[in-house]
Symmetry: C2
Subunit: 328 residues, 2 copies
Amino acid sequence: MHKETLEDIGEKELINRLRKFMPKNQASDDCALIKTKNNNLLINNDSLVENVHFNDISIGPQDLGWKAVISNLSDLLSSGSQKTLGITISLILPSKTEWVWVEELYKGMNKALKKYGGIILGGDCSKGSQKTISITAFGIQGELELKRNACKPGDIILTTGIHGLSKLGFMINNKVDFDNNVSLNKRLIRKSIKHFCRPEVYPFFLKNLLKSRSNKKRRRIGCTDSSDGLFQALQDLTISSKCKAIINYEKIPKDKDWPKGDIWDEYYFFGGEDYELVFSLPKKWAKNLTKLDKNINEIGYFSKGEPSIKFIDKCKNKLLKNAPFRHF
Amino acid sequence: MHKETLEDIGEKELINRLRKFMPKNQASDDCALIKTKNNNLLINNDSLVENVHFNDISIGPQDLGWKAVISNLSDLLSSGSQKTLGITISLILPSKTEWVWVEELYKGMNKALKKYGGIILGGDCSKGSQKTISITAFGIQGELELKRNACKPGDIILTTGIHGLSKLGFMINNKVDFDNNVSLNKRLIRKSIKHFCRPEVYPFFLKNLLKSRSNKKRRRIGCTDSSDGLFQALQDLTISSKCKAIINYEKIPKDKDWPKGDIWDEYYFFGGEDYELVFSLPKKWAKNLTKLDKNINEIGYFSKGEPSIKFIDKCKNKLLKNAPFRHF
């Protein structure tokens, strides 16, 4: 008899099933929470596995260390962390790993922490066949609770920065034959590789969110990051918040030299690893924020309805049919 | 040119080098520390890798889940944690892993948490070729600071429980040909397998330590656990505390049916995974404690001198020459 495997049930279903082992109030978002008398502590876990999440061809150890930290800080920020305390690191490495690789990895991690705050709190290292970097990051919960399930019908959907660049950088570094009909200019190539190897997070996000706040009663804000791509971020928000996302394709911020065409739309929507924030706010708040912060753009709104994503420009809806199915 | 690998430098040296990336006050013990206004938070990381730390032959998933939690709780206790808050879990699993395996693993983890306190706070799961369970555990620092580097010359060395049993259980479950000349009784076989598959920690330790306290000025106590064996625990204490351990072989607590002979001494000293506590106290405090708690025994004392371990009974010193060298 075939027993059900993780491949059969898929990643999302696996996460749902594992949540049943957690207390109900704990089991909601990317970050776990420890309540203390003064501050609540946000905790985030993220693992990078060789040949699943990275390979030695496309990224060097120092960039990888940087990126592993950024991926965790992005999750903390998208949960409303006002300050990063630090990280613990659990490494699994083959015995043949060169010391210099590990040293460079740690240098990259410390560079990212130096830029965005936090220290290496501790860690352990074990032998294994596949390089794995598992980071647990700690932040202090700010005044606002940012949650996937806190979007409301009528909210404006916003995003920081630009998507798709990291995917393009990945394809360039891996020499993927992405589109021979297009010649990319050097600036875009350099920018994309930088987005892939040294992504950044947006530390002023929370400050600007508080500055532009129009409604002091609203403490819970719908938010996630685009680490798995803009489409996945929107889908996670719609499913968790049980509402419908209406996207205005024309308003989506793109690099000025980003090529046109369906395949380039796909890279943009399904790319991932851009670590931008995707979130929703009441109209007035959204207006205040985009006025204050030119890196943030409105891209649509939420309405009542079954969890789904639709474009205002209907001819763009075919794009969503190409959404990749996420296997385990 | 041969570049230095992790195999070349070994586990201990690797840990030393990685500590240089941490702030100095942070880089001392197994557990990391986050200071908050009211309580200090102890954080422990521990990973179990398939075919390095466990295999499917010797241990089932529910026992493995139990043990993964115990291994972390033991580190928290040996750092002076007064209460376990919970754990986050980072799983790496091959896609072919059966769901029932994961379910049993989580059941085992929740059983251990139910017994000793704490909840599953969160986690993530990624695809990889080798099953890996990486746990981060959180506890609240109690009144006493338990540290590897806090033993003092003149302190009495003590240990909870009995060592070697888990190693014997491992050998029985793996059908290792350990000693054909010895026939073990059923009670010892059952007990050893239980110690290997369902090890326990000693939650009253800190309470009894506080109850028997003779010197309220001493807040820092030398302590570690025997997860890597009694010998390794003693060695870690002597090196971190820069003093010499003198062990009284006759006083070492053994199971009443534990066989005699050099090989059985080796299993006892170099076994590991017993998760007993090995620590040191001033004479009077040690006396009070062993009176109060019959599971705790004096096994020697620390004196001034180069970090080393010696037996009072000199003919037992040959045992230490067989100490296994820990490769990466």
